[in-house]
Symmetry: C3
Subunit: 116 residues, 3 copies
């Protein structure tokens, strides 16, 4: 049986959980709510890089991504930052929908799953 490894717990969640050759990363948001959609997206993607690295993997091994934007009108600008960041030879399955997020100033939240 594969062991479960949990990373960086808050009181309610782990930021990443490893199991069975996969890494499940929590829904991540920017720390600086004053940033615009591009700035917030960059902060979220940097956090994803950090948690993937902590689990011994990286963005070239992403399997899936679920992106929430608080306003669909921000999708295009979010995609610009995503496109600059993502490994174009190794694109994950992805969905992007609009949802109100935990703070009214949070513009984007991203959940990813990766292979180890």
């Amino acid at each position: 049986m594969s062991q479960i490894v949990r990373h960086d717990p808050s009181p309610i969640l782990s930021r990443a959980v490893e199991y069975n050759g996969m890494v499940f990363v929590a829904g991540l948001t920017a720390d600086d709510y004053s940033l615009d959609i591009k700035g917030q997206t960059a902060q979220v993607l940097a956090k994803i890089d950090k948690y993937l690295a902590a689990a011994g993997t990286n963005k070239s091994r992403l399997l899936s991504a679920l992106i929430y934007v608080s306003e669909m009108s921000n999708k295009e600008a979010m995609n610009e930052v995503w496109t600059a960041w993502i490994d174009k030879a190794n694109l994950p399955a992805r969905a992007c929908v609009q949802a109100q997020l935990g703070s009214s100033k949070t513009l984007v939240e991203i959940v990813v799953t990766a292979a180890k």
Copy 2:
């Protein structure tokens, strides 16, 4: 090849599906829509316990959770019930966003994935 085991089918879905050392639990909601957010959350978490047990696992082996609240203003009260229920030594990756759910009286719906 690992076998797929399906639990408690409705006409449109299985409440839980086992495969490859993992359990995928359907989006679960409270049966009693008259309950407030704390009561509905408690009912949902009790159902999750039940389906994890049916698949031979339990909340200490949760990998990820996706929580939908119909009003983000209910998140704090939902989190109180979540925090009392969750295994603090074994926290899943988690995201919580607002979404309108299947019934206008449904206040919370939770999807989890667990290791067996």
Copy 3:
């Protein structure tokens, strides 16, 4: 270590990703936005069939589905098409919530995960 196989890339995502005996399919939408909810659902499910086949599997091996409808009032009609399509002996875990989608004319988007 299991190899990652990616299918049908767009500039930002792969429509399907295989890993570890599983297939992660991207959020799929209808190409013809002029269709009603039943027509759009049928187009989405046909695409899911196509990507599952490309990964060497089929709907009898679905593990989970996440369905977004832009209006919850369309859920019942979506479910009629879903019910006619799904393998009743092999139902996936499923959640269905309302969310605004990438285009204002997109009525339904579906994300599935399947076993190979």
